[in-house]
Structures are given as structure tokens and as C-alpha cells.
């Protein structure tokens, strides 16, 4: 028995994945829509909460519009275990985690790769803004999406070659306005749906409240300056991230910023903005997209998703790497990903220690 090779498309119900599906469908792919149900939102009412029934409905409507099958698969257990629980633990340890990296690597794309195999599908398409390019040696190079503003290559550095070889990013060469335009042209039902900028499982962005609701309250503590002088109290270290200015509740005087969080004592150390700058970072748990570089090299490093990137010397060390920036960088934040680029190419990344 023979049939056309199949592709699986990951459908969140948002515009991007819907348009990705529509574009591939237009190009003649035999597609299967899959929506992963990862989380049951609680306590949030606004649109944009994760895996809401209306998002599943949007994904289903798009698939019906395209005339392709659509399935919802339940991965709540894996998402909690591999994404949400480590996220909470990181915050409690005073760091600022980036759960999208581990979600893509450990849950979403790994799971979809196995689903694709079970469905006898050869590739997986997503609505990520990133590009893949085949190198002369057969390796795939991971590149920034064309849309500087939407580029999501930062979140994808952890994917192994075996996963990259199954992936298609139909939106990689488009900018957002072109995506919406394509959505309207192809009659995608949710082409004008607003999008969320927050973490999918914390749509209101109030991470401290989220962690409390998950039954993992953190100890309150003191807000102190660098000399150890207590300036105030706070309701839990999970409410803070390095570089934060708002929500300290210190009243008037000089503007102060969070410099550091000490998880053992629950102290939040604050100071001047100038004290936020550093020129060096060490990243652990590194992944190199096309293999570990043998030598140090000069590259561009992004230290958070919205960071434009800064030049520096990158030296692989053990399972991590060190970066010495050419210029000091503001708020190098433990837990965030440091992702190394050469021009448009993602060389690798790790987590800031």
C-alpha cells in the first residue's frame, strides 16, 4: 500500500501556526493538525490563557477550513513535569528561567517527533519565526527568522540535529504583516486574532501570583542594599528578577534596581543602575547546534529574548561556555538563556549561571 508522505503541523490555535499550516497546505503538503493540550489555566480570565478551549476550537476551525484532520493530544503531565515544576524551582532558587527553551526541547518538539512517527509522518511544521539551511556537510544550520522583531531562533538552540532534520518553519522567511496577509488571503479563520506576549501558562505575566496559586509559596524576606542595610520587606523572591525597578515598594529617594537575589536568606539586594552592568557570563548545560566549537571565537550573544545581542569572545568550557563581552551588558540574569550567533546563524546556547 502506498500513500503520499505526511507532515504534521503543530497548531496552537494562534495566527502563526494556523498560517504555517495554510501555507504548507497551499504548497501541496499532506498535513495532519495536532494541538498539544499542555496546561489548564486557572484563575485567569482573559483571552490568551494557555490551551484554552477557544484556542483548540480555533485550531480545529483552521483544520476544517483546510480540510485536514485535527487531533488534540493531552501532554499536561509531561508539561508540568518538564516545564512548569522546573520553572517554579528556578524562581524559588532566585533565578529567572526561560521555560520556552525546555518546552521546545523536552516536551513540544520531542513529543511531536514521536507522534509524527506514530502517524507515519516524515516532518513537523511549526509557526516559529526561524529558518533552517542545509550545510555542505549535511548538518542543518539554524538561522534567525527574517522578521527581526518576531525572530524565535533564541528559543530553539537546544534542538538536536535529529529533531531539526524533521522540522519545517514555513514562516521563517516572512515578517508578521506578511503572515497576517497570507492568513487573510488563504481564508484562515483567526487571521486577525491578537497575540499574547507573555508566557503561555502565565498569560497575565504575574509570575509570583502564579507560583503562589500552584501551592508553592516562597518565603518573604528583606530588601537590602549592598552594605546589608535593610530598606524594606518583600512577599517572596519569586516576585523579582535582576534589573527590576518596579514593585520594590521602597518609596522615594534614588531609583533602585534589583541586583541580586539570595535564595538562602530570601534577601533581595538592590542598588544603582550602574551596578547592574557586567562584562562576563558563564553558561551551563550548553547545546551546540552543529557540534561543539574547538576554539574560542568572537560572536554575538543574546542574553534574553528581547536583547538585541552584543559582541564578545565565546570560549567553550566543559559542558558550558564563557562569554567576555566587548562592552558591559545590563542585567545579565541567571536562569536566562545565553544564545550565541554568528551573523544570522545560531551556533549554540546555554543557561546563564
Amino acid at each position: 500500500m502506498s500513500y503520499v508522505k505526511r507532515g504534521l503541523v503543530a497548531m496552537s490555535g494562534g495566527v502563526d501556526s494556523s498560517v504555517a499550516a495554510a501555507l504548507l497546505h497551499e504548497a501541496g503538503h499532506d498535513l495532519i493538525g495536532v494541538t498539544l493540550h499542555l496546561w489548564d489555566a486557572d484563575g485567569e480570565q482573559q483571552v490568551g490563557r494557555c490551551c484554552a478551549p477557544e484556542d483548540r476550537d480555533d485550531a480545529r476551525r483552521t483544520c476544517e477550513h483546510l480540510g485536514i484532520p485535527h487531533y488534540v493530544l493531552d501532554e499536561r503531565e509531561a508539561f508540568r513535569q518538564h516545564v512548569v515544576d522546573p520553572f517554579i524551582a528556578e524562581y524559588q532558587a532566585g533565578r529567572t528561567p526561560i521555560p520556552c527553551v525546555s518546552c521546545n526541547r523536552t516536551v513540544k518538539l520531542t513529543y511531536l517527533a514521536e507522534v509524527a512517527r506514530r502517524f507515519d509522518a516524515t516532518h513537523i511544521a511549526t509557526g516559529h519565526y526561524a529558518r533552517l539551511e542545509r550545510a555542505a556537510n549535511g548538518h542543518l544550520r539554524l538561522l534567525r527568522g527574517r522578521d527581526d522583531d518576531k525572530d524565535q531562533s533564541y528559543f530553539l538552540f537546544g534542538l538536536p540535529q535529529s529533531t531539526l532534520h524533521t522540522l519545517l518553519f514555513p514562516l521563517g522567511d516572512l515578517v508578521k504583516s506578511e503572515v497576517r496577509e497570507a492568513g487573510r488571503r488563504l481564508g484562515v479563520p483567526n487571521a486577525d486574532k491578537p497575540e499574547s506576549q507573555e508566557l503561555c501558562f502565565v498569560p497575565d505575566g504575574r509570575i509570583g501570583d502564579f507560583i503562589n496559586r500552584q501551592g508553592s509559596p516562597t518565603a518573604s524576606g528583606a530588601i537590602v542594599d549592598r552594605d546589608g542595610t535593610v530598606l524594606g520587606r518583600h512577599q517572596g523572591v519569586t516576585n523579582f528578577t535582576r534589573g527590576q525597578r518596579r514593585g520594590l515598594g521602597l518609596g522615594g529617594g534614588a531609583t533602585r534596581y534589583v541586583l541580586r537575589i539570595v535564595p538562602d536568606t530570601a534577601d533581595v539586594i538592590v542598588g544603582e543602575e550602574s551596578q547592574l552592568y557586567g562584562q562576563r557570563l558563564f553558561a551551563t548545560d550548553a547545546h551546540w547546534v552543529a557540534g561543539r566549537p574547538a576554539d574560542a571565537f568572537h560572536g554575538e550573544v543574546r542574553i534574553r529574548y528581547r536583547h538585541r545581542g552584543a559582541l564578545g569572545n565565546v570560549t567553550p568550557k566543559g559542558d558550558g561556555f564563557e562569554v567576555r563581552f566587548d562592552e558591559p551588558q545590563r542585567a545579565i540574569t541567571p536562569g536566562q538563556a545565553a544564545v550565541v550567533y554568528r551573523a544570522d546563524e545560531v551556533i549554540g546556547g546555554g543557561f546563564i549561571a
Binding site: P53, R56, V72, L73, T110, V115, R117, R118, F119
Partner: protein
């Protein structure tokens, strides 16, 4: 497309389609109206009621027509609950019964939920010890996911001896085992059209003459004050026509069982684990597959043109592990998440079973990946 989900809904046979087509011109009228249009609809409705009643050995006057099986179950058991302080049920009921019982419990009644460990339903004696004049028993005749046949006649006898009331959910029994309310001596029996090739919006609750059935909906005094609302005459015509085919359906059971056995035996040889034990109807095979989550397997087979279910679909499109299989095998919870329900009907052919068998072969061959062992959610660690 090969349809092996008859326990969810049975395909509409041609005579049913025909009957509804012919009735459509007159069935729109309100059968409570006394004018000519109303009388025409009334005639269709009462003919349908008679057909429904005949299929379960009942008098038409004792049949309350409802908008489907869930309403019939709600009505049958809530309608008899007044004055009963204890409700006895089983752990593997359909939500149409289980949720109504849960609500009766929340309202202050004592609820006793009998185990169906290993898929074995309680015996009449096991039921009897919980019964008294204060008791309402709400229990199914045939399990929707495994086809397990409960000893309903033993239950009826035990209930009569101890003056308990008995509500029977016969939605999966009709057309699969002979249903004769005259011989059964229960107090209320619910059936549903969708399981026998009729419209999903039609059901019925038979109630023993002389018993008061309290309505669960509020409104007019239709259906002798037991079910308010304008009856859906067209759906009832379909229901009646489907009921006229139950004799033919019953006559096919041995042949259906033979087809079921041939597919099941093959899948057992491929490592599937059977859920539910005899006695069961010949229409269904419920199997757990260690390396698969039920919904993933159902989707993979759907892509091969085979329609089956995990037995626990809900409207959101999200499937929870089967509560029925979980209750039957409490020490082997993996079974509930990995169960697939293959259910056959009188339209199922030998060719269907052969094609299904080949599709299973193709799909199950994809299970051996080492990768999946790292992802607990995909299959089961063994």
C-alpha cells in the same frame, strides 16, 4: 472509511432514513395541537411510541419519550428518587447515570458504589445486602466500554424481595440483548435511539405502571406530566423505525461476535491486553496497548481510515483516561490510558475486519522506538 465505533453511535439504516424522509412533511407540527396539522404529527408520534414500546415488550402508555439517552437516564433515576435515602450503583456507570447519582449524593442521600473489579459485575447476592425499602438501585445492563452484561434479572429479583426500586440503564443493551420489561420487572428502564441507528436526539424512559415519575425538566404537562416540552416528532419517527429493526439486529449478534472474535484474537496475539471479561456482548472488544496512549492510537488508526474510540470522548476533543477501565483495574492504571474500544454492528462485514486488521498491523509496527521510553507520557513504562 471503516466504522468500528457502533457503541458511540450506530449508522442510520436505510429504512430509518426513509421513514424520517416520509414523515418530514407532517412531523413539524405541534402534536399537542388539536387541529388537523397537530393531529397528523400526533399520529406519527404515537405510532413511534408504539414501536419503541413494542421493542422492549412494553405498553405505549408507559413510555416517556425524551431528547436522548442522557435525559432518559436522568429522568428514570431522579424521577424515582423521591423518598429514597440510599442509592446503590456501580463504579462503571455511564456519566448520564454516574453524574445524576453524584448529584443525589450531594443532596444528602447515601450512595453505595459497587466495585466491578477485574470487570466482574456484582452478583445479585452482592447487591442484595445493600437493599431495603429506602433504596433506589441505578445500574446499567450492558457496559458501554466493555460490553460486560450485568446480571440484571438477579438484581430485579433482589430489589423486589427487599422492596427497593430498580432503575436500569439499558441504552447499550437494546439491540444487543433481548430487552423485555415485562419479564425484567424493573421499575424504570432507559433506552436511546443513537445506539440502534436512530437520531441522537431521541430516547425513552419506560416506567412501571402505578409509579410516579417526577419530571426533571420544568414546563408543560406533555408526556402525561412526566416530560415537559414539545416532543421532537421527526426524531421519534426515526427512533420508532430503528426500534422496528431490533429483531433483525438481535438475530445478527452471533455473526457480529464471530467477527469481533477474529479481530480480537489477532490483536491479543500482537500483545493487546483485554479489558472486561465474559459474559459480554459480541459487539465490542476493549483492549489496552502498552506502548500507546489510547487517543494517539485512535488518531493513528483514524489516519488509516479506521474509526474507533477510546470510549471516553468528550465535546472538547480532549480525552481523559477511561474511568470505566480505571475502576475495573485499579491496580493497573496504565490500562485506562491505553485503552481502545472497537465496536461492531450489523453493518460490519468480514472485509471491514480484514482491512481493520491490516491497519492495526501497520500502526502497531510503529511502536518500537526507544525514544518513547524517555517520554513517560507516550506509552507506559513496563
Amino acid at each position: 472509511m471503516i466504522y468500528l465505533d457502533h457503541h458511540a453511535a450506530a449508522p442510520t439504516p436505510e429504512p430509518v432514513r426513509q421513514a424520517m424522509h416520509e414523515a418530514a412533511a407532517a412531523a413539524w407540527a405541534n402534536p399537542s395541537s388539536t387541529h388537523a396539522a397537530g393531529r397528523a404529527a400526533r399520529q406519527l408520534l404515537e405510532t413511534a411510541r408504539k414501536d419503541v414500546a413494542t421493542s422492549i415488550g412494553a405498553e405505549a402508555a408507559d413510555v416517556v419519550l425524551t431528547a436522548g439517552g442522557t435525559e432518559a437516564c436522568n429522568l428514570g433515576l431522579r424521577g424515582l428518587a423521591r423518598g429514597r435515602s440510599r442509592v446503590v450503583t456501580s463504579q462503571v456507570e455511564h456519566p448520564a447515570v454516574a453524574e445524576s447519582v453524584r448529584r443525589l449524593g450531594a443532596e444528602g442521600r447515601e450512595v453505595i458504589s459497587l466495585r466491578v473489579a477485574g470487570g466482574r459485575p456484582p452478583s445479585g447476592d452482592e447487591l442484595a445486602v445493600h437493599l431495603g425499602p429506602n433504596t433506589l438501585v441505578a445500574i446499567q445492563w450492558v457496559n458501554h466500554e466493555t460490553g460486560t452484561v450485568f446480571p440484571i434479572h438477579e438484581y430485579a429479583e433482589a430489589c423486589r424481595e427487599r422492596e427497593a426500586l430498580l432503575f436500569v440503564d439499558a441504552t447499550q443493551a437494546l439491540g444487543k440483548v433481548p430487552v423485555d420489561v415485562g419479564a425484567l420487572r424493573a421499575d424504570a428502564v432507559a433506552i436511546a435511539a443513537v445506539k440502534i441507528g436512530g437520531p441522537a436526539g431521541a430516547g425513552a424512559c419506560w416506567v412501571r405502571r402505578g409509579l410516579t415519575l417526577e419530571p426533571v425538566l420544568e414546563g408543560g404537562s406533555q408526556e402525561r406530566g412526566r416530560r415537559p416540552g414539545t416532543p421532537d416528532t421527526l426524531s421519534m419517527v426515526g427512533f420508532g423505525a430503528a426500534c422496528r429493526l431490533t429483531v433483525r439486529r438481535l438475530a445478527q449478534q452471533a455473526q457480529i461476535a464471530r467477527l469481533r472474535d477474529s479481530l480480537e484474537n489477532e490483536l491479543l496475539q500482537r500483545g493487546a491486553v483485554p479489558n472486561g471479561v465474559a459474559p459480554r456482548t459480541g459487539t465490542v472488544s476493549n483492549l489496552s496497548f502498552r506502548s500507546w496512549k489510547g487517543p494517539l492510537l485512535a488518531a493513528a488508526l483514524d489516519l488509516e481510515g479506521i474509526c474507533l474510540s477510546t470510549g471516553a470522548a468528550c465535546s472538547s476533543g480532549l480525552e481523559e483516561p477511561s474511568a470505566v477501565i480505571g475502576a475495573m483495574y485499579p491496580d493497573e492504571q496504565w490500562r485506562a490510558g491505553s485503552a481502545g474500544r472497537i465496536s461492531l454492528g450489523m453493518e460490519t462485514t468480514e472485509q471491514d475486519i480484514e482491512a481493520a486488521s491490516q491497519a492495526f498491523q501497520r500502526v502497531l509496527a510503529r511502536e518500537g522506538d526507544q525514544n518513547l521510553k524517555q517520554i513517560s507520557s507516550l506509552g507506559n513504562k513496563t
